[in-house]
């Protein structure tokens, strides 16, 4: 032993968790919803998934290259963004515009703010809202079984009846990944078991929204309506996969619960009092902007700070 040994500040051991592993778990958890979307909507859905992922990864790669920053695509976060963006698009959406969405999400929402962890808004949802505003026609054109049709939530808003069972299984119109509640829940359970997310945001979000629906939707005791509202419009996908995005949600449990309550109220407001039948995307990106304020009021009390000298 001739050389000096490594010296560093304690602790000297590290857990096996890495950012890359966490992102990989999220990708795995999204696979049931992705596969169901491809089964449900056909090959065009698969094309969109591949195109958005490629667009997101390439955008991050090129951005890092041009700005001479360390390459970060290995952390897989761009893959997650691309996948989530595809799941939020209708299967008939033109692929070249999906590329544009990926570029917007990665460059404008994520990288110019400093990259992973620094973005103030969920990149996939930022891109979706950008596309929704810019290409509203394409974004709201849903086809199912070869026929152009409205989403269940739009039908519901128009006062028609919908089949909640179809919505739970996912055999209905919608974006690629949002229709099948059961596929989303399978992925969500996996994420919870792997310790990637906890229930604080999804549970407070869904419960608040359910309460809001019962009180303010005007369909007080219509259970079928409540179930349809919960299953439709990407609420489940949003609650488990997008609202729980680490960078754009509060860091403490208390903050996360407040965040979930904000989401529930905003989604209800947008859905029942807004022009559109959907509200999840806007509720999430709006609440993302509230996070710094929520963080301010949710600082935990330090251990022993409540402690008094024992008499």
């Amino acid at each position: 032993m001739n050389e000096l040994l490594n010296v560093s500040s304690s602790p000297h051991v590290r857990s096996k968790d890495t950012t890359q592993k966490i992102m990989l778990y999220v990708i795995i958890a999204l696979l049931p919803a992705t596969c169901f979307g491809i089964y449900n909507f056909g090959i065009s859905a698969l094309v969109l998934v591949l195109v958005t992922i490629a667009s997101c990864v390439a955008s991050e790669y090129i951005f890092n290259l041009i700005t001479k920053r360390k390459q970060t695509i290995n952390d897989l976060s761009a893959v997650v963004t691309g996948l989530l963006l595809a799941l939020n698009l209708p299967s008939s959406f033109p692929w070249y515009l999906a590329v544009l969405g990926g570029v917007f999400g990665i460059i404008i929402v994520k990288m110019v703010f400093g990259g992973l962890g620094q973005n103030f808004m969920n990149p996939a949802l930022g891109a979706r809202c950008f596309l929704l505003i810019s290409f509203a026609g394409y974004m709201t054109n849903f086809t199912y079984d070869g026929k152009s049709t409205a989403t269940p939530l739009a039908l519901l808003k128009a006062g028609e009846q919908v089949n909640s069972m179809d919505m739970f299984l996912g055999t209905c119109a919608g974006t690629i990944g949002e229709t099948s509640v059961i596929a989303i829940l399978i992925g969500a359970i996996f994420l919870i078991l792997m310790g990637v997310i906890d229930l604080s945001i999804p549970a407070s979000y869904i419960l608040t929204f359910a309460a809001f629906t019962l009180l303010f939707s005007g369909h007080m005791f219509d259970i079928n309506f409540l179930v349809a509202e919960l299953c439709g419009g990407g609420l489940m996908l949003g609650a488990f996969f997008m609202a729980t995005d680490y960078a754009t949600s509060p860091i403490t449990t208390k903050g996360r619960i407040i965040f979930g309550i904000c989401l529930g109220i905003l989604t209800g407001l947008f859905r029942f009092y807004g022009a559109s039948a959907e509200g999840v995307s806007y509720a999430i990106i709006f609440s993302n902007l509230l996070v710094p304020l929520i963080e301010k009021i949710s600082v935990p009390t330090a251990f022993g700070k409540g402690g008094k000298k024992h008499e």
Binding site: S9, S10, H12, R14, S15, T301, F303, G304
Partner: protein, 440 residues
């Protein structure tokens, strides 16, 4: 018996299997012995021998430098070779006494008593003080100071911290199995110093054999009981231990005594008993020599001043080239740059790792996942504190209770982005505490 614990904490790889079943083996040193004059918290000890003096094992070589200080005794017989600065395991130069071992281990006479429990309170405290006993779990706080609180009537609990929550360490585990009577005896002595005190021996549930053995020993003791605590790091942290066993909380501006508690670790209590009963000063301790780079991990009974390199040889030497050697456990121990350091009063382990996990990973961007918040036993937001330190914002760091950090390292351990959170928070704490001292 439920599992008592606190909120937060982590479960690192325990590594205790390497050495837990190896009985303690005495080790006799061959080289020179080095006694740093500062191996405790408080004033350094003052040497009472000079170069060339002949000393016996158990002879006083340096006296306490104040009330918060502790004397140091020779652990072998031999000649004082020099008194000069030497590097200790935290890599600072400390004035040290160097003794050349004559190999005869001639010892001074000790003043033993038959019934230590019949001694008056002052006599017990005096014997603990004279023996030079300090906290052997790591901090090295002089034990007689702990046992002399301002208001002794308000001490409700003496807590034996037998958690040994640091991975790899098995020295306290072996002591509990080998000398349980001394542990219980030490507890009884310490409890007898206070009129209203109850003794709690807190053991992690990964040591069921110790729990069983010691529970059996204390079953007829009215004032001492065993409590099982959850196996979780940092269960043995003083504040977390007090909370788990009594439900009381203290912060950085309080002492355990402010919550009516005194906490001491296993080895310390056993040595309290020996000092009072046998009149023996503290000259040796159990050290775990372990890690995946060690051929034959073991527990040694080591005389203070023994060189690390000798102990590593005694454990069969290296199996693999070590990348990192740590004095203490992997969570809070000190990394050393070579093996030329002496064992001192608070050296619990020499841990040799063939793979340095810290060097193997590079910190990447914080993804705000909140794992550090979840595991922080002090209920802080480590990621934000560390960010504040990156920006040099000491003021907000203090406002966010950065000083309440116990430096356990759980945040750095759990961080998926491998950020050095504990390191920057530690730096922040030191700055804040230094500023406060300046103001005073």
């Amino acid at each position: 018996m439920g599992n008592l614990t606190f909120k937060g904490g982590v479960h690192p790889f325990e590594g205790k299997e390497l050495s837990k079943d190896k009985p303690v083996k005495p080790y006799l040193p061959t080289g020179d012995l080095v006694y740093p004059l500062s191996q405790h918290i408080g004033a350094p000890a003052n040497p009472v021998v000079a170069k060339g003096d002949h000393v016996l094992a158990g002879q006083l070589i340096a006296e306490a430098g104040g009330f918060v200080s502790a004397p140091i005794y020779a652990s072998v017989s031999g000649t004082v070779k020099a008194i000069e600065p030497r590097r200790n395991a935290t890599s600072t130069m400390v004035p040290s006494i160097i003794i050349e071992n004559d190999g005869e281990y001639k010892s001074v006479e000790f003043n033993a008593v038959d019934d230590p429990f019949s001694l008056p309170r002052e006599e017990i405290l005096e014997r603990i003080k004279t023996a030079g006993i300090v906290g052997m779990g790591g901090a090295g706080f002089p034990t007689h100071v702990k046992l002399s609180p301002k208001e002794p009537d308000k001490i409700d609990y003496i807590i034996a911290n037998c958690a040994e929550c640091e991975p790899y360490l098995t020295s306290d585990y072996r002591l509990m199995l080998d000398e349980p009577e001394a542990l219980v005896g030490g507890m009884k002595l310490m409890v007898s110093l206070f009129d209203n005190a109850q003794g709690i021996i807190a053991i992690e549930d990964n040591k069921p054999d110790c729990i069983k053995l010691i529970s059996e020993l204390v079953k007829d003791e009215p004032k001492v009981c065993v409590k099982q605590v959850m196996t979780k790091y940092p269960q043995g942290s003083e504040r977390q231990m007090i909370y788990a066993t009594t439900g009381r909380e203290i912060n950085s501006s309080m002492l355990p005594a402010d919550a009516g508690c005194i906490v001491d670790n296993t080895a310390t209590i056993i040595n309290v008993f020996k000092a009072v009963k046998e009149g023996k000063p503290l000259t040796h301790r159990v050290v775990t020599v372990t890690g995946d780079a060690i051929e034959d991990p073991r527990n040694f009974d080591v005389l203070f001043g023994t060189n690390f390199a000798e102990l590593i040889e005694a454990a069969g030497g290296f199996k693999n080239e070590p990348e990192k050697i740590i004095s203490g456990g992997p969570m809070m121990g000190f990394a050393v740059f070579d093996t030329n350091f002496p064992v001192v009063k608070n050296t619990s382990s020499i841990l040799c790792l063939s793979h340095d996990e810290v060097a193997a990973t590079e910190p990447t961007a914080c993804i705000n996942c909140g794992r550090c918040v979840e595991v922080c036993p002090s209920r802080l937001i480590p990621s934000r504190l560390s960010k504040l330190m990156d920006h040099g914002d000491i003021e907000t760091f203090e406002k966010m209770n950065g000083v309440e950090c116990v430096e356990c390292g759980s945040c750095s351990f759990i961080c998926p982005a491998k950020r050095h959170l504990a390191q920057s928070i530690r730096a922040g704490r030191q700055t804040v505490l230094a500023n406060r001292r300046k103001k005073k």
